[in-house]
């Protein structure tokens, strides 16, 4: 197994409403996104989709805030919910930490996706999100879009890196 950085996006002055990775090569086994990001608004519910599509998503969410835990499956089917990230109400310089793992992206099988997203504001609004998603679509994933449910803007300095992960092969291990 090896990991290769495919592309990094750093949000520049003025901010952007969408992070897009396009022309994704098909020669990896899995994809991973690492993000250190923040929203300029209090509406900071982050979502993801593939190939610009707005359908065929199913999402399961497990979250924790302070001492409480919550779960929610009632999201719009057009995108995968990743959870709320650090918003304009958070302490300055606090950015959320997110990773997203994408399987089967280059095959015709459905695409399972798993994400972990944490946002720590100090004494309040500390949030942990585990989200499992499935994109039921046979298309190869050639592009990925991340944006906020409310159409709000990513903070300057937010970074997103797309990695490609190859399948391991030691020549001796048998998988059956």
């Amino acid at each position: 197994m090896s990991i290769t950085a495919i592309q990094t996006v750093t949000v520049a002055s003025g901010g952007v409403t969408e992070i897009s990775f396009s022309s994704i090569p098909a020669n990896y086994d899995q994809l991973e996104i690492l993000a250190s990001s923040r929203c300029t608004s209090t509406s900071s519910e982050l979502v993801l989709t593939f190939n610009g599509q707005s359908s065929n998503w199913g999402t399961r969410h497990l979250g924790g805030s302070q001492t409480s835990v919550f779960t929610n499956n009632a999201y719009q089917p057009g995108r995968m919910y990743l959870g709320g990230i650090a918003s304009s109400s958070y302490t300055a310089n606090v950015f959320s930490s997110t990773d997203v793992l994408i399987r089967n992206y280059a095959s015709s099988a459905n695409k399972p996706v798993f994400s972990r997203n944490v946002s720590l504001n100090d004494s309040t609004n500390n949030v942990i999100n585990f989200v499992s998603g499935l994109w039921s679509n046979s298309s190869t994933v050639t592009s990925i879009q991340l944006f906020f449910q409310a159409g709000t803007t990513f903070e300057v300095g937010s970074t997103f890196t797309l990695y490609g992960i190859t399948a391991g092969s030691d020549g001796t291990t048998t998988v059956s």
Partner: protein
């Protein structure tokens, strides 16, 4: 690059340093990180198999950066023991608590596991943030097994030059291993 050869692309995920203790030690540190790695790596990841020589089944630990042990940290985590879940957070703390390791009250051969990501570790515009995934099995019977996800913040935007892992009230036990990985972007 020689004609006819493919260009070399370094791996995006690389082992930087490993410490495996041959004798008990109170603090394990990785230092000179910004000068050694900031030009090549963007993110850091700690992977730990550890226990302490404290007398309890579970023992505390703290992560600090750049030698700062003042109350400039906050943390929050949730864990499950298989039947219930719990959450806890701390503000104005002297370090980040990424969930417990094991102590002398646990079966001798057992160690706790932690994987801790530090994204944009060398940024001077962001507070340093950890995202941790941890678990431990104190005994062979499954009693006291726990899994946790947590996070922490150091309220300082300096680039990380050192990471210290303090076993708090005890020493890290022999055989504990601490590995630091770098991620290119």
């Amino acid at each position: 690059m020689l004609v006819g050869n493919e260009g070399y692309e370094p791996p995006a995920f690389e082992l930087l340093q490993t410490t495996e203790l041959g004798s008990p030690q109170a603090v394990v540190s990785f230092s000179n990180l910004d000068t050694q790695y900031a030009s090549d790596f963007t993110h850091l990841q700690l992977r730990m198999h550890s226990r302490t020589d404290g007398s309890n089944t579970e023992e505390s630990l703290l992560i600090t950066f750049n030698g700062d042990t003042a109350n400039n940290y906050a943390w929050h985590f949730h864990f499950s023991n298989g039947t219930s879940q719990y959450g806890s957070n701390g503000v104005n703390q002297p370090g980040i608590y990424p969930f417990a390791t094991l102590g002398g009250g646990a079966t001798a051969t057992h160690q706790a596991a932690h994987i801790i990501d530090i994204l944009d570790a060398f940024s001077t515009n962001k507070f340093s943030t950890t995202r941790s995934f941890a678990g431990h099995n104190p005994d062979p019977h499954g009693t006291g097994n726990k899994v946790s996800i947590g996070h922490g913040v150091w309220k300082n935007s300096a680039a990380i030059s050192s990471i210290s892992l303090d076993s708090s009230a005890a020493n890290w036990a022999s055989g504990s291993r601490f590995s630091l990985y770098g991620r290119r972007a």
